[in-house]
Subunit: 351 residues, 4 copies
């Protein structure tokens, strides 16, 4: 096997950063050789700087890496950004300007008119925006983003059904606590309780979904999907996995069998190119009456598939169903890594 591509992680000591570290621990293409974090950690070993919060223990390979300042310079070409939104804008731009490919999980650049917001199975063609971005901004590098965790679940499920024409969607989420990071949600708020509000989440689901499922052309840039989407977002006492109830109206009503086949047969660029983090089947339809369930299904397929179930007629719209995805893997670290794999497969990484 050829030598692995060295990569960096911006914000590597935080919770999202730890998810990147964990997800990349045995990656066949990429190897984390550079970790950046805030000033107070600079110069420490990663193992000293990091309070490891994930299940299991810290992967061996990163324990002795020295934490670097989040400045371009000695970082590898490809850097994953797990930066907090409060600081991501400037740092990500600095890296892109300096020639890095920044593959970011932060929300900061997602909705910008020249930044692709990627779900590789749904809109791989949006990668085309990158050369324009470089040119417009005068950057030597580039920024690509993945959506908010709850958006990924919805767009993967709807992406499989795109041919039927998505017109109207009402979605209610039941989101895991890991989506809020660490310490995130206080146990005083969520123990045996629901917190029926997540700041900015509904707006992100509504706008990001339309950008992702819309079109891109060099002339017009991103044209959002013409559809109306209404989201109700809730936090529930679940560790990992966002569960979403979805009612959909299509351009013309398909049969249930049409939809089940569309879910089952959905394949796209990541599958065609056998990207290493791509799930064999991006959407898995479960016929059991009470599935998918977050605790029982979310870790399957290394957390990279979206699970769909309970497809049935909707008295108000055409159909309704349930979707589940792993918020910190498919909805964050794994999403970004798959984006980088897609970029590499398209020859868009200088590595």
């Amino acid at each position: 096997m050829e030598r692995k591509i060295e990569v960096g992680v911006l914000g590597a000591t935080g919770m999202v950063g730890q998810h990147f570290i964990k997800f990349l621990a045995s990656h066949p293409w990429f190897e984390v050789k550079w970790v950046g974090a805030s000033d107070r950690n600079t110069g420490k070993k990663y193992r000293e700087a990091t309070d490891w919060r994930l299940e299991g223990i810290m992967p061996e390979g990163v324990r002795e890496l020295t934490v670097q300042e989040c400045k371009p310079g000695n970082a590898p070409h490809l850097v994953f950004s797990a930066m907090d939104a409060k600081v991501a804008t400037d740092i990500e731009r600095a890296f892109a300007a300096a020639g890095h490919s920044v593959v970011s999980n932060s929300r900061n650049h997602r909705m910008e008119p020249d930044v692709p917001l990627l779900v590789p199975e749904v809109n791989p063609d949006h990668l085309q925006a990158l050369p324009i971005q470089k040119k417009n901004r005068g950057w030597k590098g580039q920024i690509a983003t993945n959506p908010n965790c709850s958006t990924v679940v919805l767009t993967m499920a709807l992406g499989a059904l795109r041919r039927f024409g998505i017109k109207r969607v009402v979605v209610t989420t039941m989101q895991a606590v890991s989506g809020a990071g660490y310490p995130g949600v206080s146990s005083m708020d969520i123990n045996a309780n629901i917190v029926p509000f997540i700041g900015g989440e509904e707006e992100k689901m509504e706008s990001e979904t339309k950008k992702i499922m819309g079109s891109y052309s060099h002339g017009n840039g991103f044209t959002p999907l013409e559809a109306v989407i209404s989201a109700h977002c809730n936090r529930v006492p679940v560790l990992d996995g966002h569960t979403e109830t979805v009612s959909v109206e299509f351009s013309s009503k398909p049969t249930e069998q049409d939809l089940i086949e569309a879910f089952a047969n959905f394949r796209s660029a990541p599958q065609e190119r056998s990207l290493p983090s791509a799930p064999a089947r991006p959407v898995i339809y479960m016929p059991e009456a009470n599935r998918p369930q977050p605790r029982r299904d979310v870790e399957r397929e290394r957390g990279m598939a979206v699970f769909v179930g309970r497809l049935r007629q909707c008295p108000v719209f055409h159909h309704k169903f349930l979707a589940l995805g792993h918020n910190t893997i498919r909805g964050a670290a794994g999403a970004a890594v798959l984006n980088a794999e897609l970029m590499r497969s398209a020859g868009m990484l200088d590595v």
Copy 2:
């Protein structure tokens, strides 16, 4: 104070029966003097026959009552039915035929064309069906019912908005484990998990809501509301309280302020008649961004109010909001007791 009205509880040793016993423990009108249960418990003291599962300990007044067979005879006129659906039909009918007023929480008779399905704030006029029921069936007594627990929450909220014309509703529930009784939901299923299916629940919400919010006339019986309702029902790891996200389309779009005032000013027969279990305000709108929450709000107003919050524009319909109610009180035992209070206030109890 005059002497209390003696009442009986059918199915008194089960979980729903325990909720009746607890709710009635300090009732100003009614006093439990008769408890009926299945054969294997007949003849025992209530305290011997009952594995008390609720918070706190068994109320004093019922501990020494002798458990009776579920047969009419020596039972008081007014009996509350907490019978399991598997056996409720025949027993409730036998009591009604023998002259008892059966106020039932069971689902068995809810949708029958001569049985009122009551939410006292929403359709007190449906009581009118009772004399017809007695006459048609040749009963000396009568059966009145309350809806399924998740339906109560929805109809209380929609009931406050009725004047705007309910046309289309998409609702997702996040239901407490206490709604499934005891042992009910296995901890293996719900610990840090969601079970996205509750058998028959969605159908009940869709059909019961239309009956409750429909009209009644002696000539035509019950005419269901002309509206379309789509429900997604889920079990979540919460102890008490069903939380529901609701998107609604009205006949013509009201303003948010219209709706908030409609919630705040909603009053109906139970309030006008100062029924003892009636909440002062049946629907309480909470302006906080993240309320209501089941653990923090469900016990307020003795569990008899429905809490609404997060009213906002719905991109797909007109408005969306959140509703919460106590499933075992407002959705079960308290609902039935309020029904009995309404019946008494209407002179429809022979007591």
Copy 3:
């Protein structure tokens, strides 16, 4: 009824402060008329300054109080301290020096040689230290403290058994998340998990218990109980209530019946003087095989009793049993209020 005694709460906007506000909301003797908090809240209304985190909503009486600086001056004579340990020392001393009676829940002064650490049923005679404290320190006022929440549960149970001579105790706690305040324990740490460590808790249980159960004399001050105590402290996903397994060796082995009677007949100064927050029975022995349980028992007796159960032979020591108490009521706010009641009943408050 005579006019209520005006009291203040130091640290009133925090979580412990909220518990004081809630517990005092309908107190027959005391009325909160003064609330102190950190600088950033000074001058605001209490309702503006406080993010109410407890079940239900903020009591009416305090909503419009203006938050004061935590400095003596216009505060009432009696102030309850819910201060964070980081700042409590100087502020509490300043109030005591200025003539206030400071009844504190903070840990800062608990182990000082002239400060009584009170559990009113167990060591009411320790109040005698207060005049010496005033004299030694040259204060016009005084400081009395209550123990750590897990200590209260243990000392109440052992207090009932004192006559048998406590020699050796091994205790394991399973402590509720509310014991850590807000935001306290992250849901990422405790969702479906145990955190088997609480900083300083084991040491506090071991040392505080000995001070409380020891003796006081003017000549010798506090003489700790001669006993050895070993504590294992754990955080579990329970909202309220610390549960403790206890193995005890006595001076001479009593029978189980001796112990059950000692629990049942335990009465002390708070009961004899009918203090308003005193539980009728400070320790309630539950004979059921699987009780007490935090969720089912902790709210009984307004949270002021300690529940004991599962008394049985210990193969290693003499006996073993289970104890449960409400950590934020009996273990914090209620404990301090009962201390103040005891002080008043002893004529030790200038009010």
Copy 4:
């Protein structure tokens, strides 16, 4: 690779049976080719007869197996028993009499004087009892057992410390809901609660531990360890993993360092013989202040190691610490499989 050994599972459709199926799914030596269950399932496919309750989905290899009656005959020589205790005695004996090696997780034969109760790292020499058992009972086959799940955790930890002489032990368990099977513990009992009683569990821990850690000789049979052990057993809202606080008195007091080295260096027959299910290190000492934790550690080492932490002086005994093990793997299915591996490595399986 040589052909795998065909094995059967008695009680294969139940919860414990499913754990066997899952644990054996990719076993290098054994392959499940025969599944036995109760009459009502006989003749069905395993996938039809089994409501799969574990995380993920049913392994491929067993889906099409036909469920057999639990009678010897066409079953493979080696059968694992996941039978319910109510029926295990006669069925296991019938299989042993007919020549099968029954490796049982049931409690029924554990304490019999000629049945080894094995923890392969702790008492591999107890296997010697098997030939005597065969002879005494006139069986062509044999029965070997593994202990109760909470006992395994304790004996693995104490087993590492055996050389210091175990004299007195006080242990408190916090046990996962999966230990009670399915449906097992009702969510109404354990949601945000503790159930401080598990029927028979304390007695099992106390007696099984002594048998396991005792000696065996052909002349005297099993001689239990001379030690006193006191257990407090509790159910907590954790999915997998029993956590135990342990206070121990030794024959003579070792240093903390002695104990840490004993944990770290503990190796026994399974490691020496490289048994496929043996963890590389049977006991893993974690130096972090707040570890091990069930949710974060229990899945490490494929659930086969026991994790120990928080070693410190015990004021009452010599030392105290925390131990954690996976109750359904190391405490049940994995335990039995490791027993079978041990038996095979000792030439005691006719396969």
